[in-house]
């Protein structure tokens, strides 16, 4: 008995690990029914050896699948061990892990067996059992099965905290080459359905307080990076559009990890996943969501790809050196936020502290800004008098020489002078 469940868990956790999302925040479910669990800011209970957080029990219901998407490890034609959980097995695992404080909740996804509705029905009965029979108020992230009926998706949305459906590839053309059976239109349909239901429930709640919350932690999606040839401009523009059109909470970028595949359409096994590029995309994503940057400032026709050796904020600042230096003691909060080396916390502290007197460089250092980087872009009370603007090339060179990035190639080539 225990050997069988161990094997299932191994197979179905292994197959689910390529879904990056592990957020357990954004919902505010209280344990008011004398049951178990709540949700809040989210907690990462552990971290795997690849440095990713473990917050949710992330599993597939099954890795049997009728589709044959080339990038997917569970595709029909791939020769892997198959398994499927029963509804009760998933419920038991979730409850027992949760009670031991291993997890914040469940992330349930699935391969598609028989058809979309058959699969969705099973997923729905799991979340229903958790919420109703077990009185479980922990976090539930449910993957929407593409093509599932509106009724099933709507009902699931009343039990789940977050729902998501993956774009898979950044563009429709990219998706078509590796997964002809899928389309972005289908994803948009599902995202749109949940978005509209959310709005509908919210407006009803405005009138009748007892109307339940619908997908309170919102929706997210994921794109695979580096499997198909899209550039960063295409990736970020897609992300930007989906943030705007579907009010997504998150777009995840997943560097492609090559798996067994003979079609020649995808990178070969052994190709390292593009971790730096992925990191730069996340940094850009943050700039768009929290730092007031528009996508065109980060990537455009002139600069379609993000620089790998410097972060996108620094990259933007060097391209726009004429907008600097920013005077820390007078500049608007939004401008201070654009200085490389100053984050949101520091920017807020600066704006708060300067009401009490002009800030000097030693105070800025203590506040915790990355002063070595920021100093080229700011002026404060004790900055030496300077003539005109900085030379972007020189600043870049100084910063690159100072930085000790773990990503830097070991055989440090001579830095270019230009």
């Amino acid at each position: 008995m225990s050997e069988r469940i161990r094997e299932k868990l191994s197979i179905l956790a292994d197959a689910a690990k390529y879904d990056v999302s592990c957020a357990s925040s954004g919902s505010n479910r209280k344990n008011t029914n004398g049951g178990i669990g709540d949700t809040g800011n989210g907690i990462c209970h552990s971290y795997t050896e690849d440095g990713r957080c473990v917050s949710l029990l992330k599993i597939l219901l099954t890795n049997f699948c009728i589709y044959d998407c080339q990038f997917c490890v569970s595709r029909k034609s791939n020769d892997v061990k198959r398994a499927a959980f029963t509804v009760d097995e998933v419920v038991e695992l979730t409850m027992n892990f949760y009670r031991r404080n291993y997890i914040e909740g469940l992330f349930l996804s699935s391969g598609i067996f028989k058809n979309a509705d058959y699969t969705m029905e099973r997923m729905l009965s799991i979340v229903k059992k958790l919420r109703q029979e077990q009185r479980f108020n922990g976090y539930i992230h449910l993957k929407t099965i593409p093509g599932a009926s509106e009724e099933l998706v709507t009902e699931a949305g009343l039990y789940a905290d977050r729902m998501s459906i993956n774009l898979e590839m950044p563009t429709e053309q990219g998706l078509k080459t590796v997964a002809p059976e899928k389309s972005h239109a289908e994803v948009e349909k599902e995202l749109g359905l949940v978005r509209n239901k959310t709005l509908q429930y919210e407006s009803e709640r405005g009138v009748i307080k007892s109307v339940p919350r619908f997908v309170p932690a919102g929706q997210s999606t994921q794109m695979v990076i580096g499997a198909t040839p899209e550039n960063d401009k295409e990736v970020l523009r897609t992300a930007d559009r989906f943030y705007k059109d579907f009010s997504l909470k998150r777009v995840y970028y997943s560097g492609y990890i090559p798996i067994q595949n003979n079609t020649g359409l995808l990178p070969l096994i052994g190709t390292p996943p593009p971790v730096i590029r992925e990191n730069r995309l996340y940094q850009s994503d943050w700039l768009m969501r929290f730092y007031g940057f528009s996508v065109h400032e980060i990537v455009n026709d002139e600069h379609p790809d993000l620089e790998l050796d410097i972060d996108p904020k620094l990259s933007w600042a060097l391209r726009n050196i004429h907008q600097f230096p920013v005077d820390i003691n007078t500049a608007d909060y939004r401008l201070i936020l654009r200085v490389p080396g100053i984050g949101i916390q520091s920017a807020k502290k600066i704006v708060s502290a300067r009401q009490f007197g002009k800030l000097r460089s030693h105070q800025l250092r203590q506040l915790g800004i990355a002063y070595n980087r920021a100093q080229h872009f700011i002026r404060c009370a004790d900055s030496p008098f300077s003539l005109g603007e900085q030379d972007a090339g020189r600043v870049r060179q100084i910063l690159l020489q100072e930085s000790q990035s773990k990503w830097r190639p070991k055989d440090t080539a001579q830095l270019s002078l230009f």
Partner: protein
């Protein structure tokens, strides 16, 4: 510079603030009874803890600082060391000496100092919410042992009470020799009186033989899950250790097969 000796409690600290205000001492060096040796300076003032005075100070402080800084002040108390308590003392004096709003002057060493200490303690509190691992006993009691860097149990009690409202649990701090016990109604502080400090860990784990029949299975499944959700191609041990520092490993079910 005057020396004050207080009893190492939150109310004691606030009473010391009251005392210094009354005696017009601007420069005070704080000691606890244990940290003070009488030959150091001589003439130290022993502060009597007085809840009434303490509350007056707390109220006065609350009227002058905003909710965020009040929270930071209270959180920082649990850093559980004299240096931080001195900082809190000086901070309180600073707040009373300046017009309202002085708590937002991050250019001031005390204001910045408070927010930095609060962040450290708060991080440890968050870690404990994450890293506590319950084992289920045959008696249905879920128990966990930890050794946090700071004295954060009081700061996490409410979180665990709300979340695990329908199961009885114990969380025991083996460094500070006390724990929290929830009996399905309320959370109480508990100590192991009959057991010498060195054997407390064993005493709690002694129930090993009396674990729930499913406990070993779920611990194993959790380890299986932890292993299988890892992506080998992306291995980044440095980051792993940064997030899960080694000193916590012995309390984490998923790290290591050694049972203690």
């Amino acid at each position: 510079m005057t020396s004050y000796i207080f009893d190492g409690t939150f109310y004691g600290l606030l009473s010391a603030v009251f005392e210094s205000y009354e005696r017009k001492h601007k420069q005070v060096r704080l000691y606890t009874h244990t940290a003070y040796s009488s030959d150091m300076f001589g003439g130290a003032i022993t502060v009597t803890t007085n809840p009434e005075k303490a509350l007056r100070v707390w109220k006065g402080l609350n009227g002058r600082i905003d909710a965020q800084h009040r929270e930071e002040f209270y959180t920082s108390w649990y850093a559980d060391d004299l240096k931080t308590w001195q900082l809190l003392f000086d901070y309180a004096l600073y707040i009373f000496e300046h017009p309202a709003g002085a708590d937002r002057d991050y250019g001031h060493a005390l204001v910045l100092g408070l927010s930095q200490v609060a962040r450290k303690v708060s991080r440890e509190r968050h870690r404990m919410k994450a890293f506590i691992r319950f084992e289920k006993g045959a008696n249905q009691l879920y128990h966990a042992v930890i050794k946090p860097d700071y004295d954060v149990l009081p700061l996490i009690a409410e979180h665990f009470r709300q979340r695990y409202a329908d199961q009885a649990w114990v969380i025991y701090d083996e460094q500070r020799h006390y724990g929290l016990y929830y009996d399905l109604h309320q959370v109480q502080e508990v100590v192991f009186e009959a057991v010498p400090a060195a054997q407390e860990h064993a005493a709690i784990r002694q129930e090993d033989t009396l674990l729930d029949s499913q406990e070993a299975l779920y611990a194993t499944l959790w380890k299986d899950y932890f292993r299988n959700t890892n992506i080998k191609e992306r291995s980044n041990l440095k980051l792993h250790i940064q997030h899960v520092p080694k000193r916590y490993w012995r309390y984490l079910t998923e790290k290591g097969d050694v049972r203690y």
